[in-house]
Symmetry: C2
Subunit: 242 residues, 2 copies
């Protein structure tokens, strides 16, 4: 069933309105008409079962039939700190990470990042990435739209790692990533490097900040494959692939 | 360290030769010279530590110093039966599946496949896909080059499922995929549908053939994301991500 995110909380038994691009999509590509069912999602974990009552060009009116907690949100909130990769790999990473259940994505400028993003360029990229996250959230049936933030420096990231349960994926060793979470865990920060991986000094800094070093096994994963494999395993081991 | 696949078994203490494109790559892009170390892999699970003794334009000569079993081959052989997806998604799937440890990939024409591949087109695609698998095997440090076969029909696939431990990934339910393997398992066949998923009759046929239905959780994964998440979880739960 089609799902659309709204930025307000509709009342069950009341009316909801969809306007703009989503409304055009419903009447256009989807060719939906009055009487058909769709789901609205408030982006905060609640789904609303609705029935279309009117389709106009820029406006769809719906009856809100029932509210249910979204069943697709994992109990483990994974924040992915991703060393900025080259080209459009970040787009693939964001799309797939959202499908797999990530809660937030924070691009990080690490020592071996080739790409530098500042000011206007960063804001433009971030807007594009957030749009990709929203599309993937709708497509995969997520109950929230994961946030993609502006790139931060490694120094800023380290400050956060001091208060978060941090797992840095490292080719040079570490404990199996699956050993770090159980169904009792509620949040974890996953740190993945760019093409060139992490500088040993960065690995040491994460250990100093109280973080852990995790391995994804003996096969060398590309920088866009590593976060997806890691998120899949974290979701599985925290009981969120059932 | 650079790794190259060879199609013969060199003798330890003896000499090995690399010719053609790989030789040009060693002398060209990699700028390697006599005295430097590289690894040869026989594609059957053995790595050979070598030292370059001479670099010519079309020919590199090496001293074979030692043979060791490749450490990167998983104990679980995963065969991925993949419903042919649209566009170039199959290329992404092959590259990532090889990195994650797949042993063989078999494209399958399922009921909801939009793409049809026959005759010359199929052979051309298969050759391209096999090349992508070889590149990914080299890059990720695999001990074998996983095979990508010519597309088979659903009927042919079903015959195989009767004698293989088969897991079909289904949006419509099933047991968590992680519950199907332990470190004691040695082989599993993973079946993933194209964009439109599986026809209920296909799911029923897999059950009739003795296969199992597996879920990847409540989030709807794209057809290229599902096999990667599934392989990651199968590798983790079979003890192959350590």
């Amino acid at each position: 069933m089609p799902r659309f995110f709204i930025d307000y909380t509709p009342e069950v038994g009341g009316e909801a309105i969809i306007e703009g691009a989503d409304a055009r999509h419903i009447g256009g590509a989807l060719r939906m008409t009055a009487g058909e069912a769709l789901t609205l999602c408030d982006g905060k974990g609640t789904d609303y079962a609705c029935t279309i009552t009117a389709v106009e060009k820029e406006r769809v009116t719906l009856a809100v039939d029932a509210a249910t907690p979204s069943v697709s949100e994992p109990s483990l909130a994974v924040t992915l700190y991703m060393g900025l990769p080259k080209g459009d790999k970040m787009e693939l990473i964001i799309q797939k990470a959202v499908e797999l259940g990530v809660t937030a994505i924070v691009p990080v400028a690490t020592a071996r990042c080739i790409v530098k993003l500042d000011g206007k360029d960063a804001a433009k990229k971030q807007a594009r990435w957030q749009k990709i996250a929203a599309e993937a959230a709708g497509q995969s049936g997520r109950g929230i739209i994961p946030t993609v933030s502006l790139p931060i420096s490694w120094k800023e990231a380290l400050v956060r790692f001091r208060t978060e349960q941090t797992l840095l994926c490292y080719e040079g060793g570490g404990q199996p990533i699956g050993t770090f979470v159980t169904p009792a865990d509620t949040a974890v920060s996953l740190v993945v490097g760019p093409e060139g991986g992490f500088d040993p000094a960065e690995v040491e800094a994460v250990l100093q900040a109280g973080g852990n070093i995790a391995t994804l096994g003996p096969r060398i994963l590309r920088c866009e494959t590593a976060p997806l494999a890691a998120i899949a395993v974290l979701m599985e081991n925290s009981g969120n692939m059932v």
